[in-house]
């Protein structure tokens, strides 16, 4: 085939092998063709959090935030997944963190979330970097209009009432501004803190 004939070909024409008519057996003559069948599926699963996250979730029930420090890099991860990506090593040392930090970046969402009918758009979701942590995690910014949220804004956790606490990150309803001066961000490309242990 030459380039000329490639250009001349109708790009949307059915491939020759697929353009032959389909002949149904006589018994199916006049049957209504079925194009698709919708079969919803469902899967129930049990989540096994593992060592680091189990420790974190149990501390959550007592309104404490437990991260884990990497022995090789000094980086502190929260929620801890038990590994330090840069070192390729397991973390082992538990570190208790304050429930304060700053907004690393954020998003004002105007799309409803299926599982959160309580969350009325627009709302602000943000990466929160806790004091003493090396990386951020996603949280909801509350008690401020979304358009007033700033990169570097200082925030504090707003916890559920004590009688509703469970072993879940959902114990933190959101993150509210503390009113302190904003963190100074010098490198917008990079996330988190490289030298968390220096703070």
């Amino acid at each position: 085939m030459s380039p000329d004939s490639a250009a001349a070909r109708d790009p949307l024409a059915a491939p020759a092998a697929l353009s032959a008519p389909v002949t149904l057996p006589g018994a199916l003559a006049g049957a209504e063709p079925v194009e698709s069948v919708c079969t919803p599926i469902r899967m129930t699963y049990t989540y096994t959090p593992g060592r680091a996250l189990s420790r974190y979730l149990r501390a959550m029930a007592g309104k404490r935030i437990l991260g884990e420090r990497c022995g090789a890099t000094g980086q502190v991860f929260v929620p801890p997944r038990g590994v330090s990506p840069l070192a390729g090593a397991a973390t082992s040392e538990a570190v208790e963190l304050a429930d304060t930090g700053y907004v690393e970046s954020f998003n004002i969402t105007r799309v409803p979330i299926e599982r959160r009918p309580d969350l009325e758009p627009p709302y602000c979701s943000a990466w929160i970097v806790l004091d003493g942590a090396s990386v951020g995690f996603l949280g909801l910014v509350i008690d401020i209009a979304p358009e007033e949220v700033r990169i570097g804004m200082r925030v504090r956790a707003v916890w559920k009432p004590d009688e509703e606490l469970e072993t879940s990150a959902a114990n933190i309803l959101g993150w509210a501004p503390t009113g302190e001066p904003d963190e100074v961000i010098t490198d917008y490309e990079r996330i988190g803190r490289v030298e968390a242990s220096d703070r």
Partner: protein, 387 residues
Amino acid sequence: MAAERTAVIGVGQTKYAAARRDVSMAGLLREAAYRALEMAGKTWSDIDAVIIGKAPDFFEGVMMPEIYLAEALGAVGKPIMRVHTAGSVGGSTACVAASMVQSRVHRCVLTIGWEKQSESNAMWALSLPQPFATSVNAGAGGYFSPIIRRYMMMTGAPELIGCMVAHKDRRQALLNPYAHLHQHDLTFEQVVDSPMLWDPIRYSETCPSSDGACAMVLVDEAGGDRHAGPVAWVHGTAMRSESNSYGGRNMVSPAASEQCADDVFAQAGIVDRRSGIDAVEMYVPFSWYEPMWLESLGFASTGEGWRMVESGATGLDGGDLPVNCSGGVLSSNPIGASGMIRFAEAALQVMGAAGEHQVDGARRAVGHAYGGGAQYFAMWIVGAGKL
């Protein structure tokens, strides 16, 4: 021992659409596969192995679909291999297919990527409730918008750069008969006025949800030499990945992206990247990723990618580095195919077979894909001649 020279001799794409109800998943793949075989002048019996890729199985809820699709893809009794690297998978799959020929394991392989988003739920399928995280993220847009916000802060780029990219790609899609979105009357003002979904990402700066498949036939050097039709020679392939969360990670231009680009340009022997490449097909699901990847791939220096967009340098109409002449991911997004479409469109450009969205005289082109939390990368460079 040097790697076997590898050539693309066939490209096949389906029409991309919100819902291809006229075909099953297998039928969708066969449409792309037959078109690739026709262009290559091959039949199923010429194919030694099939390399397929798609985004997570959770999307359609069909687990390990490669097993059920083997028969539809002529792979009974032949090796079939599944590749899985999230959104970058179409690109990674093409790299793996090329490696099968480069390593002389096979002489002629069929590679294919697809997604049937109309039968899936890409927005929520991966958002499983987890006790250690709060459910506040609304899909990929929610994930990438904070990164885009950091890029905007870092560069001080004018606010409407993203809208310029979106308008350009949607205009260029009008020249591509396979593109999903053909918005003939879309004006720049309409892009600007479209609603914010994930501020700062507007509706019109977001990729659509598409059904579609893309296939290629790759052969060894003798096969490329024998082929009477147009040929794209593979000048380099590279893949890199990294964790999406560690302190000090460069979210705007991840280390894995920069290293992947360094590798593929070195393989192709290209030093001045902007002048050495005639066309780029890069993975831009949200408009601002065009200037971000221009910098990460080394076509612009850090903080300067948006200036290329603003000056029109990336437009098919007069730009020196046309980007996404096919309309890109912003105009068609069958996720598992989207990366392979980039690679295939790069091949079509150097074959001179891109039709109305052809870059005149294109000799070397880049295909690029990324996935996950901007953490999986795949790239290739193809040329009209052998390296």
